[in-house]
């Protein structure tokens, strides 16, 4: 339920590719209304919180370990914030702002 503040959510564009879309209702692009504040920390929502939120609220597939392992995005998934590797942006600590695009890319091995 919405928090009693003026702007309780921000819109985030989330995209899954490389096969991850199959875990999210076979849908590549999602538009997410994310709570502005992470209730567990009372801090502004970060990418780390988004990952947790997606796992809880958007992921239809029950095999959560194909997306999150030991509380973090599983190895073999690149996280991109506005078309740049999240390592350039602060990884999980990046504070999301309205309209940000977050892309999850499962690395492929086929050839």
């Amino acid at each position: 339920s919405p928090l009693p503040v003026e702007r309780s959510t921000i819109l985030i564009n989330v995209e899954f590719t490389g096969g991850l879309e199959m875990l999210f209702s076979h849908t590549r692009i999602h538009r997410i209304s994310l709570p502005t504040v992470d209730p567990s920390t009372q801090q502004s929502a970060t990418v780390g919180y988004l990952v947790h939120w997606l796992c809880q609220n958007l992921m239809a597939d029950t095999r959560k370990e194909l997306f999150v392992l030991d509380g973090r995005v599983r190895p073999g998934i690149l996280v991109l914030i506005n078309d740049a590797d999240w390592e350039l942006e602060g990884e999980e600590e990046y504070v999301l702002k309205e309209g940000d695009g977050v892309m999850f890319v499962s690395t492929l091995h086929g050839g």
Partner: protein
Amino acid sequence: EQPGRWELELEEYRRYGRQLILPEMGLQGQLRLKDAKICIVGAGGLGCPAAAYLAGAGVGTIGLVDGDTVEISNLHRQVLHSTAKVGMPKVDSVSEYITALNPNVKVITHLSHLSPTTALDTLHPYTLILDCTDSPQSRYLISDACVLLHKPLVSASALRTDGQLMILNHPALPAGNPLGGPCYRCIFPKPPPPTSVVSCGEGGVLGSVVGVMGVLQALEAIKLVVAGLQADGSSGRETRQPEASGAGVQTKAREGEGEGGPGVETPQPDAQTQCPPQPELLIFSAMASPPFRSIRLRSRRAACAACSAVASVTPESLKSGSLDYAQFCGVLDPVNLL
């Protein structure tokens, strides 16, 4: 398509197994490929890779239109030919390759360049056309013929380190129907001045650049066929249902404000379930970063000479030879160019 009319042999299940298991393909998609008749106009730098991947995927009938013979200067980019085939008609060289790769494919060779008087008869039997030619006048002619015949057209080109790709006349609705896809004349109503036209022979081209564009042509053709092309050339997109959870169409702009509590908005459907398709131009610049750009194109032009209600291009004007594409494009020496 008559259910049960087409069956796959055991050899075909083995051969196509790795693509059959894709949800985007399935047995229905494979049968549609087998039933499809695709004409490749131009057996050169674009036509070679396009033919390879259409044949590999199991397109039932492939037509090849080209009047040229293999030259040694072709071989850096026209990689289905070989040194021993220099002097052989290109359509025969590609036909040999296709049969060796996949004997299930029926190949029809047309050893001549397309001309206004022959274009309609030549292209009529096919489901879908690939423009793999290399001059403005052939591009106008092929587009006009596709509009008159209600065939979708996958058009690509390349020069130096650049490439371009468009899907034209898709859906291939009759001239005057504004819901049909734009034709080549809608995008380029006037031909370029001949002094501005540079061929691969004059300007050069990197083989892998034209190769990428040719493979992408095959891919777009396969996507169109697998999505379903009706007898009238229009797209049978309704046969691919959107996923239950992705059935809605997103109407808000990306930049819109969020309102209300946390939640998931109706997601965008995947590209192949959108209707009508947004016409696009894919631009490839091998030396630029990013190398690929997608551009939104206009819809049909209300005054288009080919696809509008006031079209002047008709089967009669084409067959009678009254449309002089070489003169239209200002070519002084049209021999061997069309």
